[in-house]
Amino acid sequence: MKLPIPPLPKALRPKPPRPGSRPAPNGSQANGAVRDLRPGAADGDGGGPSRGSGSTIPREQLREKALEVPIGIAGWLDERSGASPFARAFLYRKTPRGNNWAYTLGSATMFAFVAQAVTGVFLAMYYNPAPADAYESIARISNEVFLGEFVRGMHRWGATVMVVLIFLHMARTFFYGAYKYPRELNWLIGVVLLVLTLAMSLTGYLLPFDQRGFWATVVAVNINASGPIIGPYLADFLRGGAEFNATTLSRFYAIHMLLVPGLIAALIGAHLYLVAKLGITAPPWLKAEKDKALSRDEI
């Protein structure tokens, strides 16, 4: 698969001829000189000087078109979506000096979330959120399904790992002062992500429908109900009524595998967009020693 040739920065693109100006005596050469900056474009290009006259221009343009036909799947996609500038801007953006391992905690949280999504899909293939069968279906996953117990364990401990990572990531951004201007919005999104992640853990705990999960959930929902103003409504929403009943389990299931993960995925998208747009903070103990070129520019 050949990656598409990156488009030239604006400054380097051949300028359209000014109206009234003479046609460049050797236009193809100028083109060729610029061309050479692009990797893979040098071969066989710019062989134009020998031809010279006006009649070669259409041919040159044809050749240019032909060179731009992207090769391979990436090129096909790029020609239709125009995604490569965004991908390039994301991948080749600079990260400030002093980047250290604490900066990997956010992406590790995201990785843990993706792992949860993958193992969750496989669990959902065998899980049945009916009160009469939920426990049995989990037992089937553990005892009968190929690698079932392993995938269940991954989902279970993956949740723990994700919670630990999200707290560590939050501590990093807190102690680095990364929540300050201009990244306040990203902190807000982060706090919502934290609440949603804990909500995942809470709703997931009921699903195996064993004693532990059941009673912990009863207690948790009762605690919710004791909250002021919205507390009772929230509890009724969670239970699907005033009491634990047959629909409570499927409600928790829907919240756990559709509602909350959907929100989390969308918010991670927004979070990352802001990270890419604003850039990652530099460690707060780094000071920029005045860059000479830059201060000369300032004068």
């Binding site: 990260t95 900066y103 680095y176 429908f209 532990r212 912990a216 860059d291």
Partner: protein, 234 residues
């Protein structure tokens, strides 16, 4: 931060950013390493700790002591620390909510330009205190029993279950997943018998079931709780 400080920050930041390396492949390599470590930790935990499945859920149990996931221990432990029942709501809802609101609003009340943790002593100390407090509560929560029984009983919904359990019905009858099978199963007795019939059976049972007449005379409320609970089993 005022406009000048913002401008200053952005300028300083753009210098530091220009001196840095590109995200790909440098940061990506680190992130990828970290992802691999994360995966490894999850797999090792799975292999070592497994995925146990406890006994099946049973709405009629009264003796089961529920435990949340360990990372909620600090919340449950708050219940034990804040003892008086009239303050329970404080522990369960107010403190966590307040903490969350503070967290949400953090960038709006801490707006100074300083970012170095040692030069923002209040924020840093508050952060360390929060972490220390949560760690402390988690540890004593892990060591101690569960505080959740208090909540269950204080809510008052479980009276009938408690009374039924203490009256010893489960010695002979099965309710849900619990109990023995000497007498008929009571899991859905409420749909088979009307309330009065249940009360009558408790007072004039067929042998070998003992009568609960005495209970009705000594503690009519408890008796009524049992009848209500059984009638609700459908």
């Amino acid at each position: 931060m005022n406009a000048r400080e913002k401008e200053e920050y952005l300028r300083e930041y753009s210098i530091l950013k220009n001196q840095g390396k590109s995200f790909f492949p440098y940061a990506v390599a680190k992130d990828g390493t970290m992802a691999a470590i994360t995966m490894l930790v999850i797999i090792v935990m799975t292999l070592v700790l497994g995925a146990e499945l406890g006994p099946k859920a049973d709405a009629t149990t009264t003796s089961f002591v529920p435990r949340p996931e360990w990372y909620f221990f600090f919340l449950f432990e708050l219940l034990r620390v804040i003892k008086p029942p009239e303050l329970t709501v404080l522990a369960t809802v107010m403190v966590p909510t307040l903490w969350l609101v503070l967290l949400l609003l953090l960038p709006f009340f801490d707006r100074g330009p300083e970012r170095h943790p040692l030069r923002r002593p209040i924020a840093t100390l508050a952060g360390i205190a929060t972490i220390a407090g949560m760690t402390y509560l988690t540890v004593i929560g892990a060591l101690a029993g569960s505080p959740t029984e208090i909540v269950l009983q204080a809510r008052g919904q479980e009276d009938g279950k408690l009374a039924t359990a203490s009256a010893g019905c489960l010695g002979c009858h099965r309710i849900g997943e619990n109990g023995n099978e000497i007498g008929p199963e009571l899991t859905d007795v409420g749909s088979r018998l009307p309330r009065q019939a249940i009360a009558r059976t408790l007072l004039n049972p067929t042998a070998p079931m003992p009568t609960y007449q005495e209970l009705q005379q000594k503690d009519p409320e408890k008796f009524q709780d049992i009848v209500d609970f059984l009638a609700s089993l459908k």
